[in-house]
């Protein structure tokens, strides 16, 4: 059997770091469909999985890949798929099923320029709202955004842990410049990697109700083939998992599916704050844009401008409490992103009444530079 955790220092592409992060997290089922700029993840896993007893299948499309990772998770495996925007569009159908059936699984989206086929080989951050609202109906989901190959490794593991804990599909929202840039990745020893597993039933099959939540709003999960006679459906269902299409059951179920994330917001949300103590201008960024953003803040500080940085590691659920807190202290939030304003809208909503929000949009194709963000900070500072 091959090694599962490649402890040591590596020089890896982001896509490879994600694949190795998944393996280190215990992922043993991967289903995918080739797409630039995510194909390297499937390629790497196709080499690695036969060595370590994992199962990898290249499906006929992303619809099938997404369905397969849900089935695999029900059978007890930690499962994952990897894609880019056009593939994510197809996967949204079964992401909704994953939310409704409460299936722990991970979807990697290496964002590229859109809409449609867009810029297959170039970067963007246009799928942020799609990650949240892509599938129909009201639901909450978790998405993390890495800024580098090293962080991509760490956050892939965190995605699995969050998926297992909250029984929800979790999206790793990376982008082409993370997937296709190489950097130092430090893989810790296996026993230092903290892994979580889904809650399992503690009662005998005749007492088990597949959708009866515990106090934390999350129901324990029986796997198929364990004699629990699991009944599950994408239809609105009661605690037994039986379809019940009444308004009362809809209210109860869908409210819980949202609340199990919302009520754990502060536990799930992770942000990195720098130079915020006395900041008058805060740059809010996520993913690879947070690297030029941090550099721009440094440049501004050297000029005596009181700028700070808030990097969102968790993109969804949105760090609303963080923005609300800082809105009382800063004059302006600047939101640079590689789209026409997606996280900007979230920041603006939370900051409303307390501070101003300014968008620095680029449509993608190339990374935004520190100078561009610095100029924006300076412009805002001079007002």
């Amino acid at each position: 059997m091959g090694k599962t955790v490649l402890t040591g220092k590596h020089f890896w592409y982001g896509d490879i770091a994600i694949a190795e992060g998944a393996i280190a997290a215990g992922c043993r089922f991967f289903a995918g469909y080739p797409i630039t700029p995510a194909s390297e993840i499937a390629e790497h896993i196709s080499r690695r999985f036969p060595e370590i007893g994992g199962i990898v299948v290249q499906f006929e499309d992303e619809l099938a890949a997404m369905a397969a990772i849900l089935g695999a998770s029900w059978a007890g495996a930690k499962s994952m798929t990897a894609t880019s925007g056009p593939g994510l569009s197809l996967m949204t159908e079964n992401i909704g099923l994953g939310v409704m059936m409460e299936v722990p699984t991970v979807i990697v989206d290496i964002q590229r320029g859109g809409p449609s086929t867009g810029l297959p080989t170039l970067t963007a951050q246009g799928d942020v709202m799609q990650a949240k609202w892509g599938s129909h109906g009201p639901y909450e989901i978790i998405a993390l955004s890495p800024d580098s190959p090293h962080e991509a490794f760490d956050l892939t593991i965190r995605c699995f842990n969050l998926a297992e804990k909250y029984r929800v599909p979790v999206i790793l929202l990376a982008s082409e410049t993370v997937g296709h840039s190489a950097g130092k990745v430090v893989v810790p020893p296996e026993d230092e990697i903290k892994l979580l597993d889904r809650k399992r039933p503690t009662v005998p099959p005749e007492e088990y109700l597949p959708y009866m939540p515990d106090e934390d709003l999350i129901p324990p999960m029986a796997h198929t083939g364990e004699g629990y006679s699991v009944c599950t459906t994408g239809l609105t269902h009661d605690e037994k998992g039986y379809p019940d299409t009444s308004a009362e059951t809809q209210e109860k179920l869908v409210r819980r599916l949202n609340d199990k994330i919302r009520k754990h917001l502060e536990e799930i949300v992770d942000v990195e704050e720098e130079n915020m103590e006395d900041a008058e201008i805060a740059v809010v960024s996520y993913g690879q844009v947070s690297r030029p953003a941090k550099r721009a803040v440094k440049m501004a500080r050297e000029e005596g401008i009181k700028a700070g940085s808030i990097k969102l590691i968790t993109v969804w659920p949105f760090a609303e409490h963080v923005i609300r807190k800082w809105a009382k202290h800063v004059e302006v939030f600047i939101v640079p992103e590689l789209n026409y304003g997606q996280i900007y809208l979230q920041v603006k909503r939370e900051a409303a009444g307390d501070s101003e929000t300014v968008l620095t949009p680029r449509m993608g194709g190339r990374l935004i530079t520190p100078q561009e963000i610095y100029r924006e900070i300076k412009k805002v500072g001079e007002k």
Partner: protein
């Protein structure tokens, strides 16, 4: 076990099939004369005959009338999205190869929206038993045109008659490499049970088409308004021809409906067996390197 009757009284004597039912979920949604019930009956009887432990039986369905079946039987039931039952089932089967996984769904689910998954699963020879209850129509949504609707037939979206050519599904399965292919009707319950029993004893991708009456949404629009009219048509037109050339089993109005066990391919490794073989090869290569 869910043996409680709807009246709340304990039954005096159980029907042999009751152990397979989630009795508390009865009555079901299916109309009088529907062929889905007899198909599930034949499937459950075949499972009994083969002696498969109920806890190891997995029923995956898609959307439509037949999709609801997975919630009525007392096994692990997965009612998935429209057309995606097969890939969902593949995920389960590959992770837990010891389970007996069946996909039982309708013609719209398996051959329109899910057609691509069907042919690819057959091509890969994934270990699944796929049963299609073909009623030539979209039943649940109210009788719309399907990929299996016969030429000239009426539906709510082909009110002047169908101009399209329907799939010959056994031939499609054959061209895609399925290792077992049969066609029966829900009237031929015993033959169907035999056929499912035979298929359950095999590995790889096995496909059984079950022609199934839909008196309400197919029959009424196509001069078969009575509850038994479609069944009557099946009985009078069907000819059993085991081993028939699948290119010759296209269903056409006014012509015999060919039933039978058409294809049995032995000695073809299933997808899982191929995977394990590959794993061995990789392992041997790694050992040789040491």
């Amino acid at each position: 076990m869910n043996q409680k009757m709807i009246s709340g009284e304990e039954p005096q004597e159980l029907h042999p099939m009751d152990q397979w039912l989630r009795s508390e979920r009865m009555p079901h949604i299916w109309c009088a004369g529907c062929g889905i019930g007899p198909t599930l009956y034949a499937w459950a009887r075949a499972l009994d005959r083969v002696g498969i432990d109920k806890g190891k039986v997995v029923y995956v369905s898609g959307i439509g009338c037949c999709g609801r079946g997975s919630g009525y039987l007392d096994v692990d039931g997965f009612h998935t999205t429209h057309g995606r039952a097969i890939p969902f089932a593949i995920g389960i089967k590959l992770v837990k190869p010891d389970l007996c996984v069946s996909v039982i769904s309708g013609d719209g689910d398996l051959f329109s929206i899910g057609g691509n998954h069907f042919i690819h699963a057959a091509r890969r020879n994934v270990d699944l038993l796929v049963i299609c209850t073909n009623n030539f129509i979209y039943g649940m949504t109210g009788g719309q045109l399907a990929a299996t609707t016969l030429r000239g037939d009426y539906s709510t979206t082909s009110p002047y008659g169908n101009i399209e050519h329907p799939f010959n599904t056994p031939h499609l399965a054959n061209a895609s490499g399925a290792v077992y292919i049969a066609r029966w009707t829900s009237i031929h319950v015993r033959m169907l049970e035999e056929s499912i029993t035979e298929a359950l004893r095999m590995k790889g991708f096995r496909y059984i088409e079950v022609l199934s009456p839909c008196p309400v949404n197919y029959g009424r629009q196509n001069k078969l308004p009575g509850v038994f009219d479609t069944a009557e048509w099946f009985l009078q037109s069907s000819v059993i021809r085991h081993g028939a050339d699948t290119s010759e089993v296209q269903i056409e109005k006014g012509k015999p409906i060919i039933l039978g066990n058409f294809v049995k391919r032995e000695n073809k490794l299933s997808y899982y067996e191929e995977l394990k073989k590959l794993e061995e090869k990789v392992k041997r290569a790694a050992e040789a390197e040491k």
